[in-house]
């Protein structure tokens, strides 16, 4: 039904012009501010470090290799923290869905 579709398109355009509907991609109740972004990134790094340290400590306790896995997973935790921050700003599914760059 071309008529209905064109009406829907015009309605959407009119609603966007009036500010009734925000265009997709700008969801969220408030625009992110610098402090919020910084806090989120900080939390991501700290939690990845905690997860890495916890996992390393647990593996060390199980295998009796204290402190080597603990130290190794400290590094993995740091890398995972950077990865988390990277994913915070470049969500994975955008790269996968558009298929305009090689994976990885």
């Amino acid at each position: 039904m071309p008529d209905k579709n064109s009406f829907e398109a015009r309605l959407r355009k009119a609603r966007a012009r009036r500010g009734v509907e925000t265009p997709p991609g700008q969801s969220g109740p408030t625009p992110p501010n610098a402090l919020g972004i910084g806090f989120r990134a900080g939390v991501e790094v700290v939690s990845a470090l905690i997860a890495g340290l916890g996992l390393g400590w647990l593996l060390d306790r199980l295998l009796g290799t204290w402190p080597w896995l603990f130290l190794l997973f400290f590094v993995f935790g740091g890398v995972a923290g950077v990865l988390n921050v990277y994913r915070l700003f470049n969500p994975r599914r955008v790269g996968r869905d558009t298929q305009d760059r090689p994976p990885g």
Partner: protein, 251 residues
């Protein structure tokens, strides 16, 4: 309580105390648990009484219930897609529980149960277990491919796999720390500025005029805290939905 010997005591508001006298003491029923029960009761009452009339043109309570419902429904369908509708009750419960915890904590004499990491981490752990079980149930062994993206060189596996595992395990931790840290920081700031009002107010004749400054700050902070309370519940719900999307679609 806030001012003891002219020092700022901002952290005593987070101490757990038992309520309901000797019975509460015997079973460890704290004011935190009482507020959780109160929040659960209020949410149930809101939904029950809000939807009792089922009017075509909703009244105030019904519109509140419907807008909460549609807000969470929008989050879930936008993030997870149509498959996410079966997780809507879970996300709605989580969102309302966190929202009521944050909002109730702003009332005078109330306790903020979301300011305890034990509570927020329990909520985040439930989310973590759910997303892992959903991913395993839907994808079986393919779930483990999540930790090694296809197309990456094989010799990088010893680095990529531990990093991805740690990154996956950090999800409940970041989810819980974010909520807990925001609530603690907000309430400490409120208490510190409230103490300033009392301390400055006692400075002789000029005191009450100077004390207006921290009072102004506190009024602004209360407004800001209402925003944070809503925003953190929203963030908790949307991150749960994003994780559910990852679990359902697994890229």
């Amino acid at each position: 309580m806030a001012v003891e010997g002219k020092t700022i005591d901002a952290l005593s508001q987070f101490e757990l105390k038992t309520v309901l006298g000797p019975i509460g003491e015997a079973v460890g029923f704290t004011q935190s648990t009482a507020h959780m029960a109160l929040a659960a009761g209020l949410i149930t009452l809101l939904v029950m009484f809000g939807m009792a009339s089922r009017a075509v043109v909703p009244g105030r309570l019904q519109s509140l219930t419907e807008s909460a419902y549609e807000f969470v429904h929008g989050i879930v369908t936008a993030q997870v897609g149509d498959e996410g509708k079966r997780f809507f009750p879970f996300v709605f419960t989580l969102f309302m529980f966190v929202l009521f915890g944050n909002m109730l904590g702003l009332l005078p004499y109330a306790f903020t149960y979301t300011s305890h990491i034990a509570v927020t981490f329990t909520l985040a752990a439930i989310v973590f277990v759910l997303i892992t079980v959903v991913a395993l149930a839907l994808h079986g062994k393919k779930f483990f491919g999540y930790f090694f993206p296809e197309g990456a060189p094989l010799w990088l596996a010893p680095i990529i796999i531990p990093v991805e595992v740690v990154s996956y395990l950090s999800r409940p931790i970041s989810l819980s720390i974010r909520l807990f840290a925001n609530m603690v920081a907000g309430h400490v700031m409120l208490k510190v500025f409230a103490t300033f009002i009392v301390l400055l107010g006692g400075l002789g004749a000029v005191g009450p005029f100077v004390a207006v400054l921290p009072l102004t700050v506190n009024v602004a902070l209360v407004g800001f805290e209402i925003l944070v309370a809503f925003l953190q519940a929203y963030v908790f719900a949307i991150l749960t939905s994003i994780y559910l999307h990852d679990a359902v679609h697994l890229h």
